[in-house]
């Protein structure tokens, strides 16, 4: 059975060499970095070195890098500033945020913090003007994701941040956060240039294991919980040194090659789109998603094949050895009386029809994706979609 992984946006296959290195670190640098003996010092040195390397790769200062358990925790630490009473006011988020931001904002809304959403244009981009429209004198926290996990749409966070910062004449600027989890390894990230106040990253999206993430903070914030003061109290808890070192290692390996990887992905995505566009009725989401559009990631392709339910197609492709994902589950309801409409929030915001949303799948690529795999996938998908359509009449 062939096995082709085209779900890199869900999680990236681990980097075996980096994992081996992490294993060595776990065995040889087991000392607690807070301990004062030689074991601790040795671990603390490695921790500091990893932080420094990561900071260099993201172009920020080492003391601005905080290690967390992943993207959701990083996002939560930022939002918790409101709940902890450090900041008051309202929240502005993009309408297509990942659940780890969107649900957190909803929770804040329930606690009385007004939440406003900046709506994207048809092409999925939030313009600085649209962000300004949702912005008010009360806005205290802004969160706009850099790269959307479902559609691959890249937001111009730099321009949005600049516009919002200047909106009050430079006085009392809001805290501007970006969820950059999906962007790591897919977009070139220069935090100095981006000029946000905070950004979230997660290791498993680029080949490190689950359970290690980064929160970049231009200035320190209060921690969500208390403890031994590690990570300057922003994220207490004994540091996950093996995770941190593996993350530093994969970032060091991947980030310098980003242009090469993007070029490969662009080629492969163009081929995918060329191949799949032969299928009658295919929709690419958003519709302008041509392979070389600068604001859509070359690593992610969201497409729809009505009337074939994405869920069914995904199952069949899985049986044929291809791993892709669906953002939207079937919206039918088996149980009358309690209709459960599952509507894909992100696609709805983009004006995608419910049927197209239900028929959509996400194909996501990574540096290890091979051209032959793309060719074979196009062939298999074309055949299987044809069969289902024939079956369904």
């Amino acid at each position: 059975m062939i096995s082709t992984y085209l779900d890199w946006a869900a999680t990236a296959p681990p980097d075996p060499e980096a994992l081996d290195y992490g294993h060595t670190v776990a065995l040889e640098y087991f000392g607690n970095p807070s301990s004062l003996h030689s074991y601790g010092k040795k671990a603390a040195e490695l921790l500091a070195e990893s932080r420094k390397r990561i900071a260099e790769l993201l172009n920020c200062r080492p003391e601005q890098i905080y290690f967390t358990s992943g993207g959701s925790e990083s996002n939560s630490i930022v939002f918790s500033q409101l709940l902890l009473g450090v900041r008051k006011g309202s929240i502005l988020i993009g309408a297509t945020e990942h659940p780890s931001v969107w649900e957190t904002a909803r929770a804040c809304a329930e606690l009385g913090y007004p939440v406003h959403e900046a709506k994207p244009e048809k092409d999925g981009r939030i313009s600085p003007d649209a962000a300004l429209q949702a912005f008010s004198s009360e806005t205290e926290l802004v969160s706009i994701m850099l790269l959307n996990n479902e559609t691959g749409i890249v937001q111009d966070v730099k321009s949005i941040a600049a516009a919002l910062r200047d909106a009050r004449g430079g006085k009392k600027p809001p805290h501007i956060h970006t969820d950059a989890v999906q962007a790591l390894g897919k977009e070139k990230i220069d935090l100095e240039d981006l000029r946000v106040d905070s950004a979230s990253f997660s290791g498993h999206k680029i080949g490190a294991p689950r359970g290690i993430g980064i929160l970049y903070l231009r200035r320190p914030l209060q921690g969500l919980f208390k403890g031994g003061g590690q990570e300057k109290g922003v994220r207490p808890g004994t540091e996950n040194l093996p995770g941190i070192t593996v993350l530093a290692r994969v970032m060091e390996k991947r980030l310098p090659l980003i242009e090469e990887h993007r070029e490969q992905a662009r080629r492969q995505k163009a081929r995918l789109m060329e191949g799949l566009s032969e299928i009658p009725g295919v929709l690419f989401i958003p519709e302008q998603a041509a392979g070389r559009d600068s604001h859509i990631s070359p690593f992610i392709l969201k497409c729809s094949f009505p009337p074939v339910p994405g869920e069914v197609l995904q199952r069949i492709l899985s049986d044929r050895g291809y791993a892709v994902s669906t953002g939207s589950a079937c919206s039918s309801s088996a149980d009358r009386g309690r209709k459960k409409e599952k509507i894909n929030r992100v696609l709805k915001v983009l004006g995608v029809s419910p049927q197209a949303a239900e028929s959509s799948i996400r194909i996501s690529l990574g540096p290890a994706t091979r051209d032959e795999e793309i060719e074979a996938f196009v062939e298999t998908a074309t055949r299987e979609i044809g069969t289902i359509k024939e079956q369904l009449g």
């Binding site: 339910p309 069914v312 088996a334």
Partner: protein
């Protein structure tokens, strides 16, 4: 063999006691059902004529109590203490039992009444004397305990036979009739809320069920199938174990979609399912089919629709939910703990196979004609023959 008794229960039955010449059959069935569910434990079930005893020689009494609380045919049961035949021992045993109850009472006080019975006439005191003597000893011994013969908090039963049997408040059983005494039935089990409840209700009337589930992979997910297996697991203890037939139904559904007018698809599909259930009934020697339909709930659950779907089989189709409201059904589902599983979101992608405007009052002969013309015989037989058969025992499989 001298076995140590870990627990002893008195079991009361309801309707079985009313049965005439068949009573022994009902009683035998109940005994077997209890024993089957206690597999792995050393236990003995004795008695008859409305009263049974369960003696447990190994295992956790809580397990046995769970079994008694969910075995159809049992109206009530109580844990019985056994004592030697002298007043000293009887009082000590009764005191132990009552002390526990007084301690458990929020107010710290409790009223009780003694019902004494003496079948062993060689015992020195008669029933009245036993009650008076014991009542006197207990009220003196246990602070907070008072006698109330009219409305006692606790009736204390004392029976003097080969030994002395003493018990307090009874726990309720589920009632109904022992599963199996009404023969076998085939349950059309879906992943929804209704069909598990319908199955449970018929099992309660003594029908031993096998279940059929129609799986249309890849149009329905394996998670949906797992959900049905899970529902069968919840029903299996009540049913004394259960056979689940997972019927591959994709080919049939696709053929229906191809050959049948859109608005009739749902009804033809339901009739096809009924016909497969009929095949199962023939093979399994069942006497009835069971379905979770409730009148007017959906298009296929109108009188006209049911006339047609029921017409493909000559077995009686039991629809115990027919007159129930959704809320009533949900309450029962919650009680028997199928609800949480039923509402898991792995639904069929049935939008593909269910028309926007299904027939609600089909013309009987016309729809029968459509069914015949669809020519599903071969697909249905093949689907039934290719069923995956899963046996789920009445006790937890992990133990």
């Amino acid at each position: 063999m001298n076995r140590e008794l870990t627990a002893h229960y008195l079991i009361r039955v309801g309707e079985i006691g009313l049965k005439g010449n068949n009573r022994r059959m009902f009683e035998q069935q109940l005994k077997e059902n209890i024993k089957r569910r206690l597999k792995g434990l050393e236990a003995r079930v004795t008695g008859g004529r409305g009263r049974f005893f369960l003696e447990l020689f190994s295992g956790n009494p809580a397990v046995a109590e769970e079994v008694l609380a969910s075995t159809f045919g049992i109206v009530a049961f109580a844990r019985v203490r056994v004592s030697d035949k002298d007043m000293e021992a009887i009082a000590a045993t009764a005191a132990e039992l009552l002390q526990k109850e007084v301690r458990a009472a929020a107010s710290g006080t409790l009223s009780f009444k003694i019902n004494a019975k003496r079948t062993d006439k060689s015992f020195l005191l008669n029933s009245y004397q036993i009650a008076v003597e014991l009542g006197d000893r207990l009220t003196r011994e246990i602070p907070g305990l008072t006698v109330d013969v009219k409305t006692p908090d606790i009736p204390l039963q004392v029976e003097v036979r080969d030994k002395v049997y003493i018990w307090g408040p009874q726990s309720t059983g589920p009632g109904g009739l022992p599963v199996g005494c009404a023969g076998k039935g085939i349950l059309l089990l879906s992943g929804g809320i209704d069909s598990p409840v319908a199955g449970w209700m018929m099992a309660k009337r003594g029908l031993k069920l096998d279940a059929v589930y129609f799986h249309a992979y890849p149009y329905t997910s394996d998670e949906a199938k797992e959900k049905v297996v899970q529902l069968a697991r919840i029903l299996a203890p009540w049913n004394g174990g259960m056979n689940l037939f997972v019927v591959p139904f994709t080919k049939t559904q696709l053929k229906i979609k191809e050959n049948v007018p859109k608005e009739a698809v749902t009804l033809i599909m339901r009739a096809g399912m009924m016909q497969v259930a009929h095949m199962a009934a023939e093979e399994r020697g069942a006497g009835a089919l069971v379905s979770g339909e409730a009148l007017s709930q959906v298009a296929s659950q109108t009188a006209g629709s049911m006339r047609f779907t029921g017409s493909v089989t000559d077995y009686p189709v039991f629809r115990p939910l027919i007159g129930m409201d959704k809320e009533e059904i949900i309450r029962t589902a919650e009680r028997i703990r199928t609800y949480e599983t039923s509402i898991l979101p792995y639904e069929d992608c049935c939008t593909i196979f269910s028309p926007k405007h299904p027939l609600t009052s089909p013309n009987f002969s016309k729809i029968q004609g459509i069914y015949r013309q669809a020519g599903l015989e071969k697909e249905l037989t093949e689907a039934y023959e290719k069923s995956e058969r899963i046996y789920i025992p009445p006790y937890p499989e992990t133990e």
